[in-house]
Symmetry: C2
DNA sequence: TTATCATATTGACAAACTTCGATATATTAT
DNA sequence: ATAATATATCGAAGTTTGTCAATATGATAA
């Protein structure tokens, strides 16, 4: 349950939900995310770390750029967790 | 997105995840939840309010007892939200 | 090497959150 | 009406979280 809690904590922030929606279209580098949001660079870096630690986002380093993309596995894990809560209820 | 954020915030707490898992088997009254957890009565009340406000739990008053159950609608909403994030990615 | 650019880390501060004891409210029983 | 019980609200203490400026790290370019 610890794993799911970490993911839900990560999802419970407006900026991080925005980041996920920006990654919906596919991989993006940090600098592009930064342009589309009104937060500082350290703040973005902080949020990306939380999303990666929660397994919701995966990263790839290319030269001095960091590329981020949605982590399908982590997303599926918590989706399954929620679906299990719903089924067989009652 | 505000609605989902509220739900995810609510899910990002160990005690509240425990409460949801306790409600998995079906409706329970607050006093029964209280017995199964090591938190004070005001704390439980606080968490139940957060879960209800987030639409993850529904309540029913019967005399002096409050009965709580999982809110299928709210759970489905965020499950759908996550599933939409996953599909068509790429 | 030195300069420049992209990202990460540190340190500090304010805001938000969790928790509980004390107390209030509401319902039932006597 | 009074007592007892279940739950909610209040107020305060301690903890966690989000944020940014300053700085560090790592990579490329000159």
């Amino acid at each position: 349950m610890q794993k799911e809690m970490k993911a839900f904590k990560a999802l419970g922030d407006e900026n991080r939900l925005t980041i996920l929606s920006l990654l919906y279209g596919g991989e993006k580098c940090a600098c592009m995310l930064l342009e589309e949001m009104k937060i500082s660079q350290p703040t973005l870096s902080h949020h990306m770390k939380i999303l990666c630690d929660a397994n919701l986002v995966e990263s790839r380093k290319e030269g001095k750029w960091m590329h981020y993309r949605l982590a399908e596995n982590g997303l599926r894990d918590i989706t399954d967790f929620l679906q299990n809560l719903m089924t067989k209820e009652e």
